[in-house]
Amino acid sequence: MRKAWKAAALAALVFLSSAAVPAAHAEDGEESAPLTGETIYVYNWGEYMADGRDGSLDINTEFTRRTGIQVEYSTFDTNESLYAKLVSGGASYDVIIPSDYMISKMIHEDMLEKLDFSNIPNFQYIDEAYRNLSYDPTNEYSVPYTWGLVGIFYNKQYVTDPVDSWDILWNEKYAGKILMFDNPRDAFGIAQKRLGFSFNSTDEDEWIQAAVLLKEQEPLLQAYVMDQIFNKMESGEAWLAPYYAGDAAILVESNENIGFAIPTEQGTNFFVDAMCIPKGCRNKSGAEAYINFLCEPEIAAANMEYIGYSTPETAAKELLPEEITSNPIYYPPEEIIENSEVFVDLPEETALQLDALWAEVKMGGPGDAVTLIVTLAAFLALYLAIVVYKKVKRRREQ
């Protein structure tokens, strides 16, 4: 991501120093706020905040300079590893940035603090469309950080059919050249939207139907992958791949043969990563000051410019270069967003079913306990047979 943004970030430096945040740079001459001795612990996705590289604004340093609160920053790579770390109680953080469904899971399990919005006046900049989303319906626990949509990346050289629905990922013409998400929620989501179901269905039968569809697709697939789609699409090894818009937009910029389309009619996944304060935080007011700081339009704009995701603030969007804001990959038209759905946490029963179905899809069929027991028993029998045989032999020799 950084490479593609190098040019943009350099431009941003000029842009920032001249217009957007005169305050930040005018203050260079002024003294920074004295250190208060306070520290906040921030836990975020990797490569998900501008850190001063490639001429971007160093968000955390800037925060310390303004408030005197020091930031201890660390990163995670999946929502689940964040969850595991918080559940095990091995560490305590003041600000975390999980995704939608993980936020709803944490709310259900009473792992998040309610935010004091009087300390976060900049929440006013968050657009109406990104408030009160189904993962946090009353919007008491989270403040949106970024958002994006899932769409299909395709190679214009080889894919001749129009890419306007998920059906194309089942097209036999492209057998062996199609990639699929290597995570059950996203993979099932595509099948669900093709069938017209909700992502958050609790109907067992709907999940089974989606699994049947995915099993049909399996022989046509080249592979189930995540980040490898970048390489495989760019080299032409694969021609069709669903992926997250913001993360993979780099593809479209680096290779003019690659296009991006969002199936408008069937609907798609709308994902949000939002800032929360976990229970057990040690500096809630500091954490709220930090969230407030990140919502400041100039800061949000500088940050988004570096990380390449879309901002939920119109005020920040206006500070971004035209070429980004007019790009439908980053900021798709309204009706696409309206027709999309957010993941929320699944009840345990459904989650277990999904997990089993996913393994079934990948294995090409269901497994059964009998086979496993027979296998284990066969190994055990072999072992016992050898032991007994040897004992008998030894006795005979004596």
């Binding site: 999946t78 929502n79 689940e80 590893s81 969850y83 595991a84 062996g176 290597d182 995570n183 059950p184 929620r185 399996e218 697939l221 080249q222 592979a223 189930y224 992958v225 490898q228 495989k232 080299s235 032409g236 090894e237 345990e348 989650a351 277990l352 999904l354 997990d355 089993a356 996913w358 393994a359 079934e360 990948k362 294995m363 090409g364 069929g365 269901p366 497994g367 059964d368 306990a369 009998v370 086979t371 496993l372 027991i373 296998t375 284990l376 190994f379 055990l380 072999l382 072992y383 050898i386 032991v387 040897k390 032999k393």
Partner: protein, 272 residues
């Protein structure tokens, strides 16, 4: 007394980082998310029988290939001059200096449909050969990554075989083949056992090779366990249950291997 005191640090280490974690795995396997006792996790493992069978099959296949490829190499190294031995051993170890993830990644570039091998084939006018995302590619990756673990213990045992024993066999009139089959081979059994164990155990539980070279559709037990802890399925109780069953399976396999070993040492092998 003295020797016991010296082993204390390792004992403490072992209890803290091996015994306690294994007990924790067992605890998680038999409890649900609220901590109450349940057998449901163990019962659920059954639905992954396909994954177990595939992992055992692929693991066994790579182990056999490693043994067949590794034994002659280890034998030849142990027979070469001392000076050359260190060079050859160095060559065996050389790939291990590089991160194993990177090496697997390199195989991906080689095997892809538009990868180096297929580009070369098409340059010669030969039809492309589909290799990536197959079970064969997974086995290839495992053999490549784990073969040093087969060669090294085999070499160690083979190079320590007392020359006098071999000479005695020769004095008694055994030809080269007979010496190998009746003396060298049985005596190298301990090396084979540890080689097989050191290849089979990581092969069965590997998780990244199958993901990178198998295209995600060749799910193995390691992938399944990873999914339960770090993946989207987050369910440490089920993950622990799967690990526990895998542990039992590997213990049985090692038990079988050990029986072969002790059999040879007690002279049983000579009787057959």
């Amino acid at each position: 007394m003295k020797s016991k005191a010296a082993s204390a640090p390792y004992l403490v280490w072992m209890v803290l980082f091996i015994v306690v974690p294994v007990l924790l795995v067992a605890y998680f396997a038999f409890t649900d998310s609220s901590g109450a006792f349940t057998l449901e996790n163990i019962a659920r493992v059954g639905q992954y029988s396909n994954v177990f069978l595939r992992s055992i099959w692929l693991g066994a296949l790579s182990t056999v290939i490693c043994l067949v490829l590794g034994y002659p190499v280890a034998y030849l190294i142990s027979k070469s001059s001392l000076k050359r031995q260190s060079v050859l051993l160095m060559l065996i170890m050389l790939p291990m200096w590089m991160n194993f993830l990177l090496r697997t990644y390199a195989w991906m570039t080689l095997l892809e449909d538009s990868g180096l091998i297929n580009s070369f084939l098409s340059l010669l006018g030969l039809p492309p050969f589909h290799m990536i995302n197959t079970q064969g590619a997974v086995v290839l990756g495992m053999v490549y990554d784990y073969i040093p673990f087969m060669v090294l213990p085999l070499y160690t045992v083979l190079s320590k075989i007392d020359r006098a024993v071999v000479e005695a066999a020769q004095d008694l009139g055994a030809n080269g083949r007979r010496v190998f089959l009746r003396v060298t081979f049985p005596l190298s059994m301990p090396g084979m056992i540890s080689g097989v164990t050191m290849v089979f155990v990581p092969s069965v539980s590997t998780f990244i090779i199958s993901k990178m070279l198998g295209g995600g559709a060749n799910l193995m037990i390691g992938d399944l366990i990873e999914m339960q802890f770090l993946g989207s399925a987050y369910n440490p109780n089920l993950g622990s249950a799967i690990s526990l069953v895998l542990m039992v399976l590997i213990l049985i396999c090692m038990g079988i291997m050990n029986e072969f070993d002790s059999g040879e040492n007690e002279g049983g092998g000579m009787m057959i």
